[in-house]
């Protein structure tokens, strides 16, 4: 029997399964207050998915406001609240970029979870009117040798590749990090970048009474029903049931065709508003579109094309079937809209009409099953000021000074350490992962992983381009969330500047444990405060982002992991600075910034001693700004032949990577404690290589910005050895074998 509005009025005491749908008792009663009656089962389905943590940001909203309070940026064309923020990069071009998480689905079903994560973020970017031009994937897994990582990682990587490659989107960067805290809660974040002309920006709103609401793309099926409420907003119970039916299944071919179809529709200027169907499916699209426009909409739900004719209306409203979009089109444009869809063989159906009633009404075979004020569904969800409490173990952690850990004392020990670190899962060569991704398609990839940032050409005539980097350090953030978020911001910012791009804007994906745990909520509040303060100092707007809570199994939360994405602009990508040594004659090496004895949360403490304690490295955002100014100016003036940021694994790792990337040796001379010099993870440092004749000009530039610069050594193309004078020399062949052997040994050698 269909639960109609009329029936709901007549049966006020009918028991409803709100708690199974993830709603708390007080939330259910709030819905009853709004409607003045009990909700119908369809209405309950819509409220439950839209008021889920994933869609409503109910625990994070009060903190995220700080991003909106940042000074108005003149480059920001569209800010927080739309599907993705849009940034002006000059010459009439606009770029949109955003990160989202697909952590829980990727744990349940790694391939499809990761694949649809890519699909979802790509549709967000497309919805803004942009052509998607690249993706990146910051990933976190449990220990590399854990059996569950063996299950999750290959599936996630294959899913990202399988979907992204088939869409024709180059994968230009990301991270692969292993840590015990992610065992059982891997993080699969996906970033997408898109480009458009200013005049092509599209927004998610249904305005103009009489305008038609068109659902187009894939048919609606039973996949992903309740995904947002059941999956994304609940902690995994250690012995809970498998939740596979809640994971969506992706069809990248349909999405590829949908992208081309949408771009043709945009070019013909045929939409008034557009929204993709992602989390919460039609419930989200219809309520968000109508609350942002004329205020009302009527939908005939039985017109929705189905893959499974047995679906109930509640299921159709909640389904998260992929590759669907919803557009608002004026009646006179409907025919042309339909013609373009037919050319691409995309199913398109008029399912409703915009009105000014202030209500979203939905009929099912002639009966009214939904009658709600759409804003209460889309934006009227509960807002919680969750209790915060500094974690009880934090004092102990901070007191666990890594200074007491044994350090290498001889040259032989140092050399052995360098090789062990370079081979460790977190620092080793990630080719096993990245060669499963297409980095060439579209023909505009100027730099891709393992470079500091991905660099894309936007305009073939002028060379205008963008650089994007993502970073995050869960260990630093665990030790000090405020500083950890700023360190992640500083590193992504530095990485973008290292390639020669001027940082412009920030996006983020905030991965945390349960917001119902005051200790987690404290970490979250501190991290958001740190990020907002950091963006203020760097003068960057936050363009949008995503919050992923409930990343925990039982009582154990992941290390808090804010992933920060920074986008920068480059006026001519031909001037980019790559990381490989050996591309110019007579190269000298310099280190910018100061190296201190800072090992709290470092890769050395973790991989050598399984130690996490002390304080993370100090952050100096003023210094980061000065450093970026130097790097961008030096790139524009063509002073540098290579640059690489110093971060995980310190100077030693940077040297290893730059030598191997260029397949040339280098000789360096250290002053002071060689261990601290090689392995400290002090922030605000960059290693650069440049022809000796340009050294004076570059050093002057550094002095002008008051950034210390130290002579380190020279590139030695004739010697295939990395030499630390007075300490050791390691042949490149030995280094390469150490770096490249780790992942194939763990995840299977794909042969030559």
């Amino acid at each position: 029997m269909i639960d109609t509005v009329e029936r709901a009025r007549d049966t006020p005491d009918h028991q409803q399964p709100y708690s199974e749908l993830g709603l708390k008792s007080e939330e259910y009663h709030r819905i009853r207050d709004i409607l003045g009656r009990r909700p119908t089962s369809s209405e309950l389905a819509m409220y439950s998915v839209m008021w889920s943590e994933h869609c409503s940001y109910k625990s994070s909203k009060v903190h995220l406001r700080q991003f909106g309070d940042l000074p108005r940026s003149e480059v920001l064309l569209v800010g927080i609240g739309e599907n993705a923020g849009v940034v002006d990069i000059g010459d009439g071009y606009a770029v949109t970029f955003k990160i989202e998480s697909h952590n829980h689905p990727s744990y349940v079903e790694p391939y499809q979870g990761a694949a649809t994560g890519v699909g979802g973020i790509v549709r967000d970017i497309l919805t803004m009117g942009a052509r998607p031009i690249a993706v990146m994937d910051p990933l976190r897994f449990g220990p590399a040798d854990a059996p569950d990582t063996q299950r999750v990682l290959p599936g996630v990587v294959a899913g990202i590749g399988g979907y992204g490659n088939c869409l024709g989107l180059p994968n230009i960067g990301g991270e692969v990090v292993f840590d015990d805290s992610y065992l059982g809660n891997p993080l699969v974040n996906a970033l997408c970048v898109g480009v458009m002309r200013h005049e092509d920006i599209r927004l998610a709103k249904a305005s103009g009474p009489g305008n038609q609401v068109i659902l187009f793309g894939a048919r609606t099926g039973g996949d992903g029903i309740g995904g947002v409420s059941v999956l994304a907003s609940e902690t995994f119970a250690a012995d809970g049931p498998a939740k596979r039916p809640s994971v969506q299944v992706g069809d990248p071919f349909t999405e590829k065709v949908l992208i081309e179809c949408c771009l043709e529709i945009f070019a013909a200027d045929l939409v008034v508003g557009i929204q993709d169907l992602g989390g919460a499916g039609l419930s989200c699209a219809t309520t968000e579109l109508s609350s942002a426009g004329s205020g009302g909409m009527h939908v005939v739900l039985d017109r929705v094309p189905l893959r499974d004719e047995t679906l109930a209306p509640e299921e159709i409203l909640m389904s998260e079937s992929q590759e669907r979009m919803c557009a608002v089109v004026t009646p006179s444009d409907v025919d042309r809209f339909m013609q373009i869809c037919a050319r691409w063989e995309v199913t398109a159906t008029v399912i409703g009409e915009v009105n000014e009633s202030g209500r979203l009404t939905i009929d099912w075979h002639g009966e009214r099953i939904v009658d709600v004020p759409p804003r209460t569904v889309a934006h009227g969800g509960p807002v919680y000021e969750r209790p915060l409490a500094r974690p009880l173990d934090l004092d102990d952690l901070t007191a666990g000074d890594p200074g007491r850990l044994p350090r290498p004392s001889t040259s032989e020990d140092l050399q052995a350490l360098l090789l062990r670190m370079a081979a460790s899962p977190n620092l080793c060569d990630k080719t096993w992962v990245t060669e499963q991704y297409d980095r060439y398609v579209q023909g505009n990839t100027v730099l891709a992983q393992p470079e500091d940032a991905g660099v894309l050409r936007i305009d073939e005539q002028t060379g205008l381009g963008v650089a994007v980097a993502t970073d995050g350090n869960g260990r630093f953030t665990r030790l000090e969330p405020y500083a950890g978020a700023q360190l992640a911001l500083a590193e992504a910012y530095r990485n973008v500047a290292t390639t020669g791009a001027r940082p412009l804007a920030v996006t983020n994906c905030l991965n945390f444990g349960s917001p119902e745990d005051p200790a987690v909520m404290w970490q979250f509040a501190e991290a958001v405060r740190g990020l907002a303060d950091g963006c203020r100092v760097l003068g960057l707007p936050v363009t949008g982002g995503n919050v992923s809570f409930y990343n925990q199994t039982g009582d154990t939360a992941i290390n808090p992991t804010p992933i920060i994405g920074v986008l920068g602009v480059m006026t001519d990508v031909a001037r980019r600075t790559p990381m490989a040594f050996g591309t110019a004659p007579d190269e000298v090496l310099l280190v910018l910034g100061e190296t201190r004895d800072e090992f709290g949360g470092s890769e050395w403490a973790w991989s050598e001693h399984h130690h996490l304690g002390g304080r993370p490295p100090a952050v100096d955002l003023g210094r980061e700004r000065a450093l970026a100014e130097i790097l961008v100016t030096a790139a524009e003036q063509g002073l540098l032949s290579a640059a690489h940021d110093l971060s995980d694994g310190g100077l030693a790792q940077a040297l290893v990577e730059c030598c191997l990337r260029g397949d040339v040796g280098a000789e360096v001379r250290l002053t002071g404690d060689p261990f601290v010099n090689l392995f400290s993870e002090s922030a605000g440092r960059v290693l650069v290589a440049l022809p000796a004749q340009r050294r004076a000009r570059f050093t002057e530039l550094c002095e002008a910005h008051a950034v210390p610069v130290a002579e380190l050594g020279t590139v030695r193309p004739e010697h295939a050895t990395l030499t630390v004078a007075g300490q050791f020399g390691v042949p490149l062949g030995e280094l390469r074998a150490a770096c490249t052997g780790t992942l194939p040994a763990l995840f299977g050698s794909p042969g030559r």
Binding site: C166, F253, Q436, D438, Q442, G443, V446, P750, G751, R752
Partner: protein, 218 residues
């Protein structure tokens, strides 16, 4: 330049044609008219999602009926990656492309040896030239019956061979082949992604597009 639903490297191949000095013309899978072009490129991608055998559906596209007919009269046709798969499914070239031996998609800069410089697409190279172009595929493992392979080798129809490592398990390191007449060439690696130093590992791929311009003029 034919675009099928799911073609990905079509605009990239157009760029390569332009950089080599040619004029790219966009062709649509559903249109049998080749608009008087002098040569056809079937680009990389996943036509129709490649959910069936790669290229198995694309071969039935209206445009392919004309391509098959004119190829028989000597029209130069280049199939890159998915295009190579379509050429094999169309029986314009022998053999088949199967799942990579290691079962992964693989993208790397690949060294290739040019084995035949008399085709419409390789006449700009010198015999035994070694070039570096990207390879990126999940189903690029070339297979054929032993007698077919012997015939290909005997007639010099192995056009490009993997050098310095075989990325997908292709039999006899075969990266690309041609038909008897040498006007139809298929290869798995992507020469259109090695046309600018800024975005590719080399500019070695330009030779394929320069070759066909010479062939078209003569």
């Amino acid at each position: 330049m034919v675009t099928f639903p799911g073609s990905l490297d079509d605009r990239d191949a157009q760029r390569a044609v332009r950089l080599a000095g040619g004029e790219p013309v966009a062709l649509w899978h559903g249109d049998a008219d080749l608009r008087g072009v002098d040569a056809v490129v079937l680009p990389g991608g996943f036509s129709y999602g490649d959910y069936l055998r790669c290229g198995a559906i694309a071969r039935f596209a209206p445009v392919m009926q004309t391509v098959i007919e004119l190829a028989g009269h000597g029209l130069p046709v280049l199939g890159i990656c998915n295009g190579f798969q379509i050429l094999c499914e169309s029986h314009l070239l022998p053999g088949a492309l199967t799942r990579n031996a290691h079962l992964h998609f693989r993208n790397r800069d690949q060294r290739l040896r040019i084995e035949n410089t008399s085709t419409a697409w390789t006449n700009a190279y010198q015999p035994a030239d070694e070039i570096v172009v990207p390879v990126k595929n999940g189903e690029g493992c070339f297979v054929a019956a032993p007698d077919v392979l012997d015939r290909l080798e005997g007639e010099g129809r192995v056009v490009v061979r993997y050098a310095d490592g075989n990325p997908n398990g292709s039999v006899r390191d075969i990266a690309g082949i041609c038909n008897e007449r040498g006007n139809v060439v298929g290869l798995m690696p992507h020469p259109e992604h090695a046309v600018e130093t800024l975005t590719g590992p080399s500019t070695d791929g330009l030779g394929f597009f320069a070759s066909v311009l010479t062939a078209a003029v003569s």
